[in-house]
Symmetry: C2
């Protein structure tokens, strides 16, 4: 993609109404546009990052047997009445002119449970799990954390169905392992944190927390064994003893990037979702529910991976792997190298803007956080070379143009 | 994917409240689930079909230079006030407890025009085009055509920005060619049909129409030169003379699967979206808007491609290319062939359900409309063969198992 043809531009200043680091950097870079408080457009750069995050999530959900589907946002009142969640504070409710009442889906336990009734009758139909990546709506009273707490946001929600608690427990562990892989692949160190069940369950649940000053939670955690508890339920103190390994615990603010819930039979009983076992006995199905917000995840990554000059995307989710910068009279040569990179299947952003100074181009490359910067100038061309610099390193390297193919494949 | 592990099952009978062919077949096959009138869940099979349709659309939109982004569904009242479209009949409107008023996005001209103001100032920023594939909401008074007319549905909407009418006209033709390729690749014969401008413009617009009894439109069309007009604006009659080539015109019911609009400066003037030309003179930007509904497209394809036994998906958008059916004592051998097909990267559904009869399995394969059926049974194994039958042909063929690799690559 050529920057001269790109829909968005970078901005020198962050919008005055954005106080969170993620929103400031993402807006300045042209990754997102704020339509209203908590309501964002994902611009081409941001949508590419989300596409990569979603691809990682899909791969890991498919690997544990999840089947992808797509449920509606208009969720009829009958669903919420069945589970007694019509009046939940965060729901956007509406009544149409035919008198139909809906809440915009802020979660989908109710909808998936009704659907499951059509397809699950016997123990032979279990276990099974389905997921979607879909827009959710929650009317958050405070929406000041950029894309970390949106009123409209992307969510991956996975639901699982089991014959018994044991089946649920096994799958719950599989999801936790899948989630660990997702966050690792996205470049995040997470703590699996014990937390309260909230509106869903009375048992403890688990959250995946990322340490960050942008977080709305506080966790106590142990750096030795990775044990962690949310402050809300914790009896731990900072500097106390970890109940697992005895080492000293620490505390910090954290962003919740994923959660796993054992729902038990709360929804299957509300919707009469039963199966018959080998002996033709009926039982309510045991369910689990597991969430990751891809747009929130993008925000958490921006909070963790940046410096004073801008974003530093992990390569796995960067919108482009390379940014090629042409300076002075090198545009002709740069165009050839750009075409060559495209032909080799490289994801490259080409800064071909002749009206911009070298300083402006370097600043934009840093702000956008593209992992590898390539510079062609009169100076580098004198030695038939191209300058390579990684976003997260300070060292530059001159590489002969004839050798760049192999270098870039390794980079 | 093994059918024994699949979330959905086929149904013998269509739901009684579905009168359209597409909804009957899609529900019976387990492609969609109706949550409410005009509101559907896309189940794993349907979501796979939509994924393939969306991929084709993305490829063709990218090829004409469209940049993908993703706008919100909650569209604040200020947007609609600016264009005087707050009171449009199809809009779902809501007011939250903070007093914010929104309509759920039934189209996005307003939102994209406001966003464009941040990034387009000069003639150097033009032309540019952006698109999204995103859920739209329209409170249709009648929603009886299955996924062809949803109250909540997927839409690909493309918006283009130009310095003048000439630039718009050039791009408009490029979009028409892109749309032709999309519909061809999805296995649909479409007529580019002149139609009225509706709420958007006073000029004629163009619709892509597919002849089908399920259609809500009537078109006059010429089979010789493909000229067509929507009955709403037409002075043509059936059996009359085509104004283009002089041959006889025909008439028929049709489903609109795409449309292209020249918006002119309607929205740029409403939102004050101006650019400065080379002489530093300001002008309102000239815009175009172009829609395709992927979920409606799936419905139209189901209407056109089926027989009395079920769906007949074109290979390009089939959820799986192959269905492998194991009969009698062939499960062990079938499992090996299934694994081999997966390893070769083939998309294959494996009917491993031992409790089902041959007749039930054949009926399901036909209903699901998978392009190529492979059968392994005691009989075929006697000659070390597998039976191959295409969904749209009546002939069967026995192929030696050792030769299937090359055969399937060609199939």
């Amino acid at each position: 993609m050529k920057l001269s043809k790109f829909f968005t531009k970078t901005e020198r200043e962050a919008p005055k109404d954005e106080i969170s680091v993620n929103a400031q950097l993402l807006e300045r870079g042209g990754f997102v546009y704020k339509n209203n408080s908590g309501i964002y457009t994902y611009l081409p750069l941001g949508w590419r990052v989300l596409g990569k995050i979603n691809k990682i999530i899909r791969e890991e959900m498919d690997a544990i047997g999840g089947q992808e589907l797509f449920m509606p946002a208009l969720v009829n009142k009958r669903y919420w009445d069945a589970s007694d969640r019509w009046d939940v504070a965060v729901a956007y409710r509406l009544k149409d002119e035919f008198g139909h009442e809906f809440a915009l889906g802020w979660t989908h336990e109710e909808v998936i449970t009704e659907i499951a009734k059509r397809y699950i009758q016997s123990y032979k139909d279990l276990p099974v799990s389905v997921y979607q990546i879909q827009t959710k709506f929650r009317n958050e009273p405070r929406a000041k954390s950029g894309v970390i707490r949106g009123r409209e946001f992307l969510m991956k929600d996975l639901y699982s169905f089991h014959a018994d608690e044991e089946g649920l427990n096994d799958f719950y562990e599989k999801v936790i392992e899948g989630y660990r892989r997702i966050f690792e692949r996205c470049g995040l160190k997470t703590y699996l944190t014990e937390a309260s069940g909230g509106a869903f369950t009375k048992e403890y649940t688990h959250e995946f927390q990322v340490l960050s000053e942008a977080g709305e939670d506080t966790i106590f955690y142990c750096e030795s064994c990775d044990y962690a508890q949310n402050k809300e339920i914790s009896k731990l103190v900072k500097g106390g003893k970890c109940p697992k390994c005895g080492n000293m615990t620490n505390s910090g603010k954290a962003v919740e990037v994923g959660n796993v819930f054992k729902l038990g039979t709360r929804f299957s009983e509300a919707f009469n979702l039963y199966f018959v076992d080998e002996k033709e006995q009926g039982h309510p199905i045991v369910m689990g529910s597991y969430g990751i917000g891809p747009s929130r995840l993008m925000g958490a990554i921006a909070e963790v991976h940046h410096d004073e000059n801008g974003l530093i995307w992990p390569e796995s989710i960067a919108p482009y792997k390379f940014i090629l910068i042409a300076l002075e009279h090198s545009y002709e040569k740069a165009e050839k190298i750009y075409q060559k990179l495209l032909e080799s299947g490289m994801e490259v952003l080409y800064d071909d803007r002749e009206e911009k100074t070298a300083g402006e181009k370097f600043a934009d490359a840093d702000l956008l956080g593209i992992p590898v910067r390539l510079v062609i100038s009169e100076r580098t061309l004198k030695s038939k070379s191209i300058e390579i610099k990684k976003r997260d390193k300070n060292t530059k390297e001159l590489v002969k143009i004839k050798d760049i193919d192999s270098i870039l494949t390794e980079a």
